[in-house]
């Protein structure tokens, strides 16, 4: 049904690449228009080099480059970072000064540490019956049967199963070719018709746990086109996450076989994963063990706030955007409620 000015979903099936119907509640049609109507000035295609500080140790603004590479200084009474676990850590680590020699807000030494991704397992099955295939939102049912810790499984925490529909004609062919199910030559057509609209499955999104050796640091050599030191990612998949992935593949295989799949395919972890970025500026009450306090303000710089996935202390086995949005709203409310004493 129509909702808050957005048309109803018409099952276009291309949700992740943008909704032509305008039905998807993406921020370009939810928060941004409201923010711009409220007076926010949006500068796109800009890169922040560093946050500057004044003689009192407070943030005084940011230095950034516009799309033409022209350097600007944006003064600010309050600086709020929302660049997620790679971008936020990069800016903080690049914001060095005599007062903050290891980067801004980094007295704990934890900026850039505890990087978490979501290791994903993808499992699919091929069925005799015709399925929805390319029609409708790809991600449609979730199960958290294996979300909470159960020590008998051999790992801490757990994962969410996100069940998907199928694939469009091109992806069915590409996947079929890559996995050896789709031959060249005369047999191609018959084989393809057994794949197209006959595949469905799920992903398992695993709760990665914080480990200090998984980091975002500054690359000693690599810079972007504005000369800003680039982030360097160091990450090792933990044994806990590995066991979680294996468990997910086993349970998913049982589910798909019970549903009638005659052929299974999986990859765990998926090689292209790692798009959920969390943990490099963790939240906490102890300044020695966290970067921001319990309402998002930097322990070290009292007019610097972070409202992105970097403040997560664990990753949660779910897509993180709604939690990030909830935290951003909560921190915004906290700022509003504390205006008179915000910098105390």
């Amino acid at each position: 049904m129509d909702y808050e000015g957005r048309a109803k979903c018409t099952n276009l099936g291309h949700c992740t690449s943008g909704c032509a119907q305008g039905a998807k509640a993406s921020t370009d049609i939810t928060y941004w228009p409201a923010a711009i109507r409220a007076g926010v000035e949006l500068h796109t295609r800009c890169r922040v080099r560093e946050i500057t500080t004044n003689e009192h140790g407070m943030a005084s603004g940011v230095v950034y480059y516009d799309a033409d590479g022209v350097e600007h200084f944006q003064p600010a009474e309050v600086v709020i970072l929302a660049c997620n676990a790679v971008g936020t850590a990069r800016i903080l680590l690049n914001s060095v000064s005599a007062r903050f020699p290891t980067g801004l807000a980094n007295s704990s030494g934890l900026v850039g540490k505890n990087l978490m991704f979501h290791p994903y397992a993808r499992i699919a099955g091929y069925f005799d019956e015709m399925l929805d295939g390319y029609r409708g939102p790809g991600n449609c049912i979730w199960s958290q049967e294996f979300y909470e810790t159960d020590q008998s499984r051999g790992f801490m925490r757990g994962y969410t199963f996100e069940f998907s529909r199928g694939q469009g004609p091109v992806m069915a062919a590409v996947d079929g070719m890559q996995t050896g199910r789709l031959p060249w030559g005369a047999e191609h057509h018959r084989a393809y018709r057994k794949l197209f609209c006959h595949r469905t499955g799920m992903v398992a999104i695993c709760e990665d746990l914080p480990e200090e050796h998984n980091t975002v640091t500054l690359d000693p050599v690599l810079k972007d086109t504005n000369g800003i030191p680039a982030p360097k990612i160091t990450y090792t998949l933990s044994a806990n996450s590995r066991r979680m992935l294996d468990h997910a593949v086993a349970r998913a295989s049982e589910i798909l076989r019970a549903a009638g799949a005659y052929d299974l395919w999986y990859e765990a972890p998926i090689p292209g994963g790692g798009w959920h970025l969390m943990g490099t500026a963790r939240m906490g009450t102890d300044p020695a063990r966290s970067v921001v306090n319990e309402w998002g303000r930097s322990h070290d710089v009292k007019n610097l706030f972070i409202v992105d996935g970097s403040i997560f202390v664990t990753s949660g086995g779910v897509n993180p955007t709604r939690t990030i949005q909830a935290l951003a709203l909560y921190i915004a409310d906290s700022i509003k409620q504390r205006l008179a004493t915000l910098f105390d």
């Binding site: 018409t10 032509a20 409708g136 004609p169 018959r190 197209f196 409310d333």
Partner: protein
């Protein structure tokens, strides 16, 4: 962009990958319209495709398209084993252009159109499965 020999080799390879089928009433990937789409769609992958075709012609000792069918099959089979990532780029382009052709889409029971604006109907599941979820107490607190 591609030389005449490279075009002939690419077309030959595309036809070997997806030949005409009378049973399903579909053209090959070397069909004029589909092959024209392939050539126009090389885009950023043109370098990979040219590298693939150079390798293929080198393996063939001349233009791949000029080999006899038996020799072509042997070279193509060998090429599939060794082509690696560059061959994957080429394969994706051929498949992309083939499976968006109107005739091919019709043969698959699809309407040859983009999803928007008409959209699709999907079979509704059994929404009553959610009744126990709706009936249970809230797991969350209301925002202040």
């Amino acid at each position: 962009m591609l030389s005449a020999d490279q075009c002939r080799s690419l077309r030959c390879l595309a036809e070997m990958m997806i030949p005409t089928s009378a049973d399903y009433g579909v053209p090959s990937a070397g069909d004029d319209a589909i092959f024209g789409d392939i050539l126009q769609s090389l885009g950023r992958d043109a370098g990979h495709v040219i590298a693939v075709l150079q390798t293929l012609d080198a393996m063939s000792g001349g233009p791949f398209a000029d080999l006899d069918p038996q020799r072509r099959d042997a070279i193509a089979a060998q090429f599939r084993e060794t082509g690696g990532e560059a061959l994957a780029y080429l394969t994706r382009i051929i498949l992309q252009c083939y499976y968006r052709d109107d005739r091919v889409m019709r043969s698959l029971g699809m309407e040859p159109r983009p999803p928007f604006p008409k959209g699709f109907e999907v079979e509704q599941g059994d929404w009553s499965l959610l009744d126990p979820v709706r009936a249970r107490p809230k797991l969350y607190r209301d925002a202040g």
